[in-house]
Amino acid sequence: MLSFNALLAVSLGYVVMLFGIAFWAEHRANAGRLGWLRSPFVYTLSISVYCTAWTFYGAVGSAARNGLEFITIYLGPTLVFIGWWWLLRKLLRVGRAQRITSIADLISSRYGKSTTLAVLVTLLAVIGSTPYIALQLQSITLSFSVFAEDGGNANYTAFWVAAGLAVFTIVFGTRNVDANERHHGVVTAIAIEAIVKLLALLAVGIFVVWGFAGGLPEIFAMADENMLRTEKIFTSRWITLTFLSAAAIITLPRMFQVMVVENADEKHLATASWAFPGYLLLISLFVLPIAIAGNALMPAGANPDLYVLTVPLSQGRETLALLAFLGGFSSATSMVVIAAIALSTMVSNHIITPLWLSLSPSRTATSGDIRSVLLVSRRLSIAGILLLGYFYFRITGGSAALASIGLIAFAGTSQIMPSLLGGLFWRGATRSGALVGISAGFLVWAYTLFLPSFEGAFLLSDSLIENGPFGIAALRPYALFGLGDYDPLVHSMFWSMTINVFLFVTISLLSTPRPLERIQASQFVDVFRLNKDIGGYLVSRTATSEDLFTLAQRILGTNPAHRLFTDMASEQGKTSGLPDPTDDLVQRVERELAGSVGAASAHAMVSQIAGGGTVSVDELMKIADETAQIVEYSQQLENQSRRLEEAAHQLRHANTRLTELGAQKDAFLSQVSHELRTPMTSIRSFSEILRETDNIDSEQAQRFLGIIQEESQRLTRLLDEILDLSHLESGRGNLKVEDVNLGDVIERSINSTRGLIDESGVEIALNLPEKPIIVSASFDRLAQVFINLITNGIKYGRSKNPKITITARTVGKLAIVGIHDNGPGIPAKDFEKVFEKFSRLSESALAGSAGLGLPISREIMRNLDGNLTLEPSKNGAVFRVTLPLAKS
């Protein structure tokens, strides 16, 4: 049997080796030769910090007691990892984009950089992790006691182990103030330890199966019936444990540390997604055989948690037992180191720094180096956390089985999960919801699981646990609201998760998030959609570059701050001096600081300098959700292009119309000149004859003068018509409207054109109703219209037996008069042309007409609130005159 001192020497040697490896890795990394230090397998191995001493010793213990149930603790993480595309990938991306330093930082950052939430999650993590650290110390002292006959002093061992781990963690875990930077030394040492623990467990397993039993079937043949109780598989406890372990791998502070914070490359996750489940498979492969062998070999009452050590020892395999001891030692130490780093970051960033800031608000800007303060606070936190674990160990003194402590801790930290998942996938999750949900879940967990686990020794008395507070049975910790038939863990998980999720969702729905929360919400939920360059938000502040530089210098150190500001200056196009204090700069500084002190503290510090870090509604409008902006923008574009198209269409239309009008004007002018020229020519020639011919007889002179007079009358008429038309068109006709008998007007018109009618031999047919139609019109003007139409009919409606039919009727409040000739008619396409000035139809037009009759008639009718149109007809042209009836 190994002596206690020999064992001590081996462990010390192992520790020295770890220090050496860590130191060497750190050295290599500093020299820039990262090489395999950054390989995805080192990353995967570091994740195996999930497998603690609890796995190493406790899983076998659990298998010895409950058979296959221990596997659930590995199935949860397996499912989470093979589903990395869903959750872990997003978690990693967010962690990277926001420079998240811990799980508390993540929750705080998501919910508007809330300090309260950060403190709450930190406290929760410390309360949940302390028993776990105590558990590791306990497992180390237990394993020591197995070897040492004299046992040694357990408390003494635990203390020195804790002290040694504190030194290791402080030396390699707080080298940089930037908690977001990788700890290559620690990670490499953890990876080596991961290999040691896997090899140790495999070695013991292989020995048990092939060295001791002689094969797998043989070892299972040894199993007593209790161990393979199949009805134990798939119970509510099976589901709860799978869920719990899945939640734990996401929410445990140390898991977040190795998975997100220490991650060097997102691509490594793809490898870890299968390699880590593979590791878990290997490490649990021989757990059941070892437990079976232990039960078979060990006397009743032996501690199943130590089978990994006692089974090889009982077979006289001391070297194997020593390897197993080192495996257990590795599992315990790696967990403690990582947990201490993760927790110290949280405690230092979320509790000590904010306290320090609030106690001395002026110091941020004026006092000396904040970095040393941060480092000291982080180192003190590490020592404090290990001390806390040690005291917990002293107080509980190894009362409960390893596995149950582990599960209780899992259940505590899993209360963060609803808020974490909600924060990553639900934009509507709010700070109040998270705060209330986590607190309530945590309280229910403490009341139904954590406090009763002390079995009456702490806060809750035995009788209270048995009978409920004040004897109220409905409030018994293990049977809340009478739900007593379940396993305490299932019972506690059921109530705490139900209440947690319910309050988180309800309060999120009821509360309104602050602006900063909304910004962070979209930064988290849409992390894959956001452009890298638009990572931040605009907050107008009054910071000067000097202040920001001083702050950055104090926290990041002189050189990194210098680099950061030089980079920013050159990005802004400046070759020397400090960059301008743009929003971009403020954000960058805040993000860099967040990497060291966490989002909430960084935000508080920068706000102190920049003055008023809150976002106003106006600013929020500016930043509005990116998607919303894009949607709005594209809608605007669409609207605009539609409007543009409409405008273009109208313009095209107007252009055609203008061209037509221009052509008409030209035609009109040439027509007018032509029309004026004909009478002018005859007037001129006849007056020249009269002047130049000396002896002209008076009869001829009389005839010539007659022609001249006639032509000048025609000229005057033409000019009158043009004037008249222009008056009517501009609405300045000023027609005198009175009640007029339509029949009288038509009769007068026929009489006026009697000469023309008789001359052309046109037959006029009148078709008027017996009752006189009284219309509201100007008698003379209306007669002018009819005269014009009749004349028109006579002129153009030429046929063998020309006939013009005039009909009149009333429709509603309108009178309608149709003037129908039996001539060749007018093609429908020319209907509008007819009413254009000087547009005599075709070439058959009679000379002497200026072609203004119809346009004038139409203008008159329109001025009389009526209209003049052409009607489609099979034979001849049909003009229709509409006009209003008299009101009386």
């Binding site: 659930t72 589903g83 798939f234 299968w274 498979l281």
Partner: protein, 79 residues
């Protein structure tokens, strides 16, 4: 046929989408096989090659999940 590049690209995009869908389905399948009443079919007292059936089933499914996840990770990491 006239333009061999076009269908190839479309097919690749389609294939990639299928792979992503499969990556989302895999954990659900795992949960169904290992943490649903389905598992009770194999939680019997039988033995195969001297090994208890539940042991074989759970580790078999587990191994399958690891291999499938590895294949999936390869496919997802393709450009």
């Amino acid at each position: 046929m006239n333009n061999p590049k076009k269908p190839d690209l479309a097919q690749r995009a389609y294939r990639r989408k299928k792979i992503k869908d499969a990556a989302l389905v895999l954990p659900l399948l795992g949960a169904f096989l290992l943490a649903s009443p389905f598992i009770t079919i194999f939680a019997t007292d039988g033995y195969i090659f001297g090994l208890p059936l539940p042991f074989i089933y759970i580790f078999g499914v587990w191994l399958f999940l690891v291999i499938a996840a590895r294949r999936m990770a390869r496919l997802l990491s393709e450009p």
